[in-house]
Subunit: 119 residues, 2 copies
């Protein structure tokens, strides 16, 4: 039961882990777009962009409607909501517990050195 969910999250997060595909989603947030329109902004072949579209479709993030010879895509919000929901689980870590965490980190940082996010 959970496996299926896991696999879905795998493909969804993987799809989101590429700036090209995220940009495409952003584009689709403005309304439906054909594959060609989605591909246009990118400096890559149409075939490559088509693969990205397919990845998004595969993850269930978009829906495709073959309208004549063009393929019109639109956002399919379901899986995005799933990913969002998954992440929401951690919300308490940056709300409820953030102050506690911050305090711990400050203690730690004071103990070790100046430190920061990036060494």
């Amino acid at each position: 039961m959970v496996e299926q969910h896991d696999v879905q999250l795998d493909t969804v997060f993987h799809a989101l882990g590429d700036a090209t595909r995220r940009t495409m989603l952003l584009q689709l947030a403005g309304g439906e777009q054909t594959v060609g329109q989605l591909a246009e902004p990118f400096a890559m072949s149409l075939a490559a962009a088509s693969k990205h579209v397919k990845a998004l479709e595969n993850a269930g993030l978009i829906r495709r409607e073959v309208r004549g010879r063009t393929h019109v895509c639109r956002l399919a919000p379901g899986p995005l909501a799933s990913a969002h929901a998954w992440l929401s689980f951690y919300e308490r870590f940056w709300t409820d517990r953030l102050d506690v965490l911050e305090r711990l980190l400050r203690e730690e940082d004071a103990g070790t050195s100046k430190e920061g996010h990036e060494p």
Copy 2:
């Protein structure tokens, strides 16, 4: 400026796109864990699990504190919040517009055939 943000989202979403790493995060949600403890539930070598931990650390999702000879990890909520924020942008698509979308999809499905996820 946005590039940096993009790269961060790349690594964060990529890190999240693996069930092993998500399970590790879930584990860390229960409190700090050593690398060994994180690795234990999985049927893979410690070296492999260590790579996953490193991926999470690389994405900024966890923090590591070398305590003696053990490496203790804990959640670092910042990047998770970033990913969550990114996804939140789409919230309106499954709240405001979901009903509109649903209506459109129902029309479409009625027009083409019975259903349509898998051909």
